[in-house]
Structure formats: C-alpha cells, structure tokens
C-alpha cells in the first residue's frame, strides 16, 4: 500500500504557522470586535500549554471524570465477517457523555477558568458537543448557553433534554437554515455582544486561529492513546486509520499524532447524504470548493456566488457545510485521503455493528464503519485498520427507526 508523501514538507505536524495558517487554509477571518478576544485566547492558551499544572488538571479529569484512556478494542466478529484486515475500534463512545466531544470541552473549560471567564457559550449540531459543554459547565459551576438550530432541536430531542437536565439554556436558532452553521453564526453574535465575561467553546477543529489547533490538541489524546495501545497489542502501528468527518475534530484527534508516520494511511470519511451528485450532501472536500466562513479559509459547500449551501446528512453531527482547515490542507497535500459515504451505506453499517459487535454506534462513526466495510476485504489478514468509534448511538435510535420505517 502506498502513502502519499510530499518531499517539500518536512513535517505534517508543524502547522499552523503563527498566523494560524495550514498552507492557504485557516487564518483569523473575524470581525474586529472579536480580534482582541481571539488574540487573548491565543495568549492564554500558549501560557496554559507551558504550565504543567494545566496538563495535570486535564489528565486528572480525563482519567477520573471522562474515563480515559478509552479502550482499543479488536472487533473480532466484524473482522471475521469482512474477511480481510484486522479491525480495531477506538472506543471513544465509552467516554462520559458518550462521545469524543468532552475531550475538547474539558480542555476549553479549564482554559476559560484560567482566563477568569464567568459565562460559557457553545454551538451544537447533533447535540453531542452541547451535552459535553453543559456537562463541564455543571462540573465547574458555570452558566452555559447552547445555540442549536431549530431543525436539529427537533431531530435530537434526547440531547436537548439532556442539556436542560445539566442546567444549560438551549437557545433555538431559526435564522438561515436553522442548522449547525446558523447555530455557529448565532454563537458568534452572542460572543460579539458579550465580550467581557464570555468564553466560546467551539466544538470542532474550525473557527478562527487558535481554535483549530487548540481543539485538535485537546482531541489528540485519542491518537496518542491509540499509538500506545496498538503498539502494545500488535507491536506496530496500524496500516490504516479511519474516522468520520463533519467539522473533523475526532478525525484530527486520531490522525494528528500519526501524520509523520508516512507508512500509516489516513482516511477521512465525509457524509454523502443522498449522494454527492444529488447536491444533498455534507461532503465539503469531495463536493465543495475553498472559501471563507466562520473565521477560517477551508473547503465549503457554496454557490458560484459564494453563498453557503445547506448540507444534508442523516447524521446531524456531520451536517455542516465546511470542514476544519487542517483537513483541507491534508487533502491538498495528499497526506490524507477523503472519501464519502451515503446515508444508506451508513445505515447498513449501523445495523451490522449492532448485530456483530453488540455496539450501537452513533450515525457519525457509522459512516467511518461503512468505509471500513469497503476497505477491509481488500486488505490482507495481517494488516490493521483502526477506526474511531467516536460516539454511541443512543441519541440516534429515533432517527434510525424513522429511516427504517419502524414506529416506536
């Protein structure tokens, strides 16, 4: 198996540069009102990075509150069923709150506390990041306001109730298309209006610098653990890493520690919705073009006039018309491959995983799994795939029942 390697790039792990650029992607495309905040945040984050106490706090809560490290599990029956490469799941769905999102919200709330911020805002699509934000806000006794598209509120009712139980205020966003991108717009509007006391916990590896880098670093706990775990289990690294991508935070967290291991093939899986050629999808790299939105330059779904288009996916967590800028860069440099999986393929993978492994996956990693199902049979028995099982599927059972025509 060959892996793309660009001789001009000394390290794929060196980015971003000091202005937040990964090649031409990233940057700080925000209103002037927010610039002082973004610069403060960067400075506070740099100080935290140098402070061993910050890392100690993060490790303590990661272990005792989130339950890290999450296991690396050999999916025996799925491996036998597909009849090719050995398949391992990184079990980030076993984290407290049921997804990888809390790795990042933990890091950011510790930073918010250091900065003396007294109010937290967040945006959410599927509700996983909203729940993870509400959770750490309860833990540290900070008020939390979560912006969520009205459309998403409807299709993710269990997570909305969870956030409310955790004490968060969930604000329905009806502007634009009432989905994740509009929730992000509304959170930015809140931040512009409440610059003094408010910390904005962005849920993915997007937004103005330093967010893409910071969120990636908090999520990199996933990849660092995988490195140790796969070495312990197999005595070597995996041949292929696979993760699903909406904004791309679970994928960056898994991929980043391996970017310079050029023998490791890296595959991101976007949501193709009804199919990339139908126009109803969320595959920004496969079906989009470079543009500027939400503080960074990256691949976007947009019209010829530069208007942002609606994304579509059965998975609310992948339903975003952009992607983290570092993924755009990894795509253009060829270091990572990006493929797409339709709603139907994800639904098939979802059901197979339930029956073969006794794991109900979230619809997001079901996309990654659908690609693993394509890939594994083409690989040898001695080869290894690690897939990030980044969320559990309890939140999706109603959506899946609906898609399968089952009345609950």
């Amino acid at each position: 198996m060959t892996t793309a390697h660009n001789p001009d790039i000394e390290s794929y792990r060196a980015g971003p540069d000091e202005d937040g650029h990964f090649g031409i992607f990233g940057g700080r495309f925000v209103a002037e009102t927010l610039m002082p905040l973004v610069l403060d945040l960067e400075q506070a984050y740099r100080q935290a990075q140098r402070d061993p106490e910050f890392q100690r706090d993060f490790d303590y809560y990661a272990k005792h509150y989130i339950g890290r490290p999450s296991p690396l599990y050999f999916a025996r029956r799925l491996t036998a069923h597909l009849g090719g490469a050995k398949i391992y799941f990184k079990r980030d769905e076993l984290n407290h709150t049921g997804a990888h999102k809390i790795n990042n919200t933990l890091g950011q709330i510790l930073l918010a506390r250091r900065m003396g911020k007294t109010r937290i805002i967040a945006e959410t699509g599927a509700g996983q990041h909203g729940v993870a934000s509400a959770t750490v806000c309860a833990l540290f006794d900070l008020p939390c306001v979560v912006y969520m598209g009205a459309t998403d509120i409807e299709r993710q009712a269990p997570n909305v109730f969870r956030m409310k139980l955790l004490g968060a205020e969930v604000v329905p966003v009806t502007s634009g298309t009432a989905t994740l991108k509009d929730a992000l717009n509304e959170a930015l509007r809140d931040w512009v209006a409440n610059v003094e006391d408010t910390f904005y916990i962005i849920g993915t590896v997007a937004g103005p610098h330093p967010y893409p880098e910071m969120v990636r670093n908090f999520q990199s706990v996933i990849g660092h653990e995988v490195r140790e775990q796969i070495t312990a289990a197999e005595g070597r690294l995996a041949d292929v890493l696979v993760a699903c991508i909406g904004g791309g935070s679970n994928a960056m967290g898994l991929f980043h520690p391996f970017l310079d291991d050029t023998g490791v093939r890296i595959v991101g899986v976007e949501a193709a919705g009804f199919g990339v050629d139908t126009g109803k999808h969320a595959a920004s790299l496969t079906g989009g073009s470079p543009g500027v939105l939400h503080g960074n330059r990256t691949y976007l779904l947009q019209t010829d006039d530069g208007q942002i288009q609606d994304a579509h996916s059965i998975s609310a967590g992948l339903d975003y018309p952009g992607i983290g800028p570092e993924h755009s860069w990894l795509h253009e440099t060829g270091r990572a491959e990006y493929v797409s999986v339709t709603d139907d393929e994800a639904l098939d993978a979802f059901q197979l995983c339930c029956r073969l492994e006794g794991i109900i996956p979230a619809l997001e990693p079901a996309h990654a799994l659908a690609h693993v199902m394509r890939l594994a049979p083409t690989m040898g028995h001695e080869q290894i795939i690690v897939m990030n099982m980044c969320g559990r599927g309890d939140k999706d059972v109603f959506t899946v029942a609906d898609a399968l025509g089952v009345t609950l």
């Binding site: 202005d19 940057g27 700080r28 495309f29 925000v30 209103a31 002037e32 009102t33 927010l34 610039m35 002082p36 905040l37 502007s175 634009g176 991108k181 509009d182 717009n185 930015l188 509007r189 512009v192 209006a193 610059v195 073009s289 470079p290 543009g291 500027v292 939105l293 939400h294 503080g295 330059r297 976007l300 947009q302 010829d304 006039d305 530069g306 208007q307 942002i308």
Partner: protein
C-alpha cells in the same frame, strides 16, 4: 428574474479616488456632520433597491453604504440578516450588486459609495476581478467585516493599490495598541462601531461615544463615522455633536422591510435624519 434597468456600457469607467475626501471636505465647509446611509443591495429586489438608492442623495444622504448580501452574516443582527435573505431570495448576486452601483453611478458622479459585507462572495468572485469591476463601476471604498488587519494581504493591500479606500471598523474592544494596528492601512474614513454587538440591537450613550471618538482622533486624522444603534434624528444629532458622520443602517433597512421596499418611505426617514444633522452645526 427580469432586470428592468437598461444595461449600460461595461466600458464606462467611473474610477475616482477622491470622492470620499471631497465629500468630507465639503461637509467641513458646510460645518456639519455627514449622514451615511446603509441599505442592502437587492432588497427587496434589484429594481426597487435601485430606486431607493438613487433617491438617497436627494433625501440627504452624504455617503452611501451598500451591503453585499451574504447567506451567513455573522456580525449582523436580525434586521440586516433578513435584508440579506430577502435580497438573495430575489436572486441578488455580487455581479448584480456591482451592476447596481454602475447604474447609480451613471446618474451620480459625486456621492461616495462604499460596499460593505463579508469576504467569501468576493473571494469566490476572484479578488483581482472584483477590484477591477468595483473600481470601474464607481465603488469608492470597501468595508469587509471579517477581514481584520491580520488578513490584510487578502484584499486590503490589492484594493489600496488599485485606489479603493479600505475602511476599517474600530470598536469599544479596540485598545490603544489595537487602534494603531487598525489605523495602519485605513483610508477614506474610520467607522466606529459604538456598541459591542451585532448591528441594530443596542444604542450607545453620547458620552461613551464622545470619549471613544476622542481616543480615535489621537490615532488618526481620518474622518470618523459612528454607527450601530442610531434610530432617530435625536440620536443622529447626538452623534453629529462628536463625530464627522452618523451611520444609519438597521432603522432604514427596517423601513424597507415594513413597506416592502417603498422608496418614498425610506427617503422620508433619511430626510428626517438629515434634517436633524443640519440643525446641529459643528464648530470645527
């Protein structure tokens, strides 16, 4: 969508780098503050939008800001978000916005036109093409909300080189160090955003604005226009006492929404605001 305005020769070149400076010089001679009016291009459609914009100078607008509609206007409040969506639903594009400016310019060679909006539609249009087309259509300056000084190489540098003015926003969060950075590569005038927040939601006190404008003047000799939250003649007058121009946006956009683009209703509001400013002579 049918565009009933007649196509103009695309070869007419309305480039003029002095319109903004000339207008502020004239205001100084008249010893009054200027009125800057904001409307979204193509709201509620290109035809009605053009007739609103054409009548603004006669109603008393000294400078015109034209919003370039964008699907995701992060820094705008409900009024301007809705205006953007109305325009986009009616088929507005950046190409048509530039055409609208060209039509306006054919009948008015002196009133400065500043385009305001977000970077993505311009990036998608292509920066060099956009700059060429904007200059020749008679655009005088640009206010691009999501291009802070950190991203000057994107559009600010090429725009300035081509003779377009680069108008920056200064805000209550801008400290002295930040103001130095903001004033570098600022031209035409400086737009002081009087409240931290999205457009059209809150108003600022005259006292706070006076203090802030005083601080700005220690960093620049450019004229200072103040906006965000001005809804009536009294507020416009208050701004006029301390700044070189008052910007009215959301209030005007609200009238356009409420009257479905009735030009006379929009011009009536502008006349009232302009009248207020003219009653407030400045001692400069």
């Amino acid at each position: 969508m049918s565009d009933s305005v007649q196509p103009l020769s695309p070869h007419d070149d309305y480039t003029d780098t002095q319109r903004i400076a000339n207008r502020f010089a004239a205001l100084k001679t008249e010893r009054r503050a200027g009125l800057v009016t904001f409307v979204t291009a193509g709201d509620p459609d290109s035809e009605r939008s053009l007739s609103i914009i054409r009548g603004l100078p006669a109603a008393g607008a000294d400078l015109i800001e034209i919003g370039m509609p964008f699907s995701d206007p992060m820094a705008d409040g409900p009024a301007i978000q809705a205006a953007s969506l109305r325009a986009l639903s009616a088929g507005m594009t950046l190409v048509k916005t530039l055409k609208l400016v060209r039509h306006f310019r054919a009948g008015d060679r002196t009133t400065p036109i500043v385009l305001m909006g977000y970077y993505n539609p311009i990036y998608r249009y292509g920066v060099p093409d956009f700059i060429d087309d904007a200059c020749s259509a008679g655009v005088d300056g640009l206010i691009i909300v999501d291009l802070p000084p950190e991203e000057d190489q994107e559009l600010c540098h090429p725009a300035l080189t081509a003779g377009l003015h680069w108008i920056r926003l200064a805000t209550p969060t801008s400290d002295d160090k930040r103001l130095n950075r903001i004033m570098t590569n600022s031209s035409g005038f400086v737009y002081y955003v009087a409240v931290s927040g999205v457009t059209g939601t809150r108003s600022a006190s005259e006292q706070d604005v006076a203090a802030a404008v005083g601080r700005l003047r220690r960093h620049t000799n450019l004229p200072v226009a103040v906006g965000f939250g001005i809804k009536n003649a009294e507020q416009a007058k208050a701004i006029a006492r301390v700044a070189d121009a008052a910007v009215v946006g959301s209030a005007l956009v609200d009238i356009i929404a409420a009257t479905d683009g009735d030009a006379e209703a929009a011009h009536k509001l502008v006349r009232e605001l302009a009248q207020g400013l003219r009653e407030e002579p400045r001692d400069l």
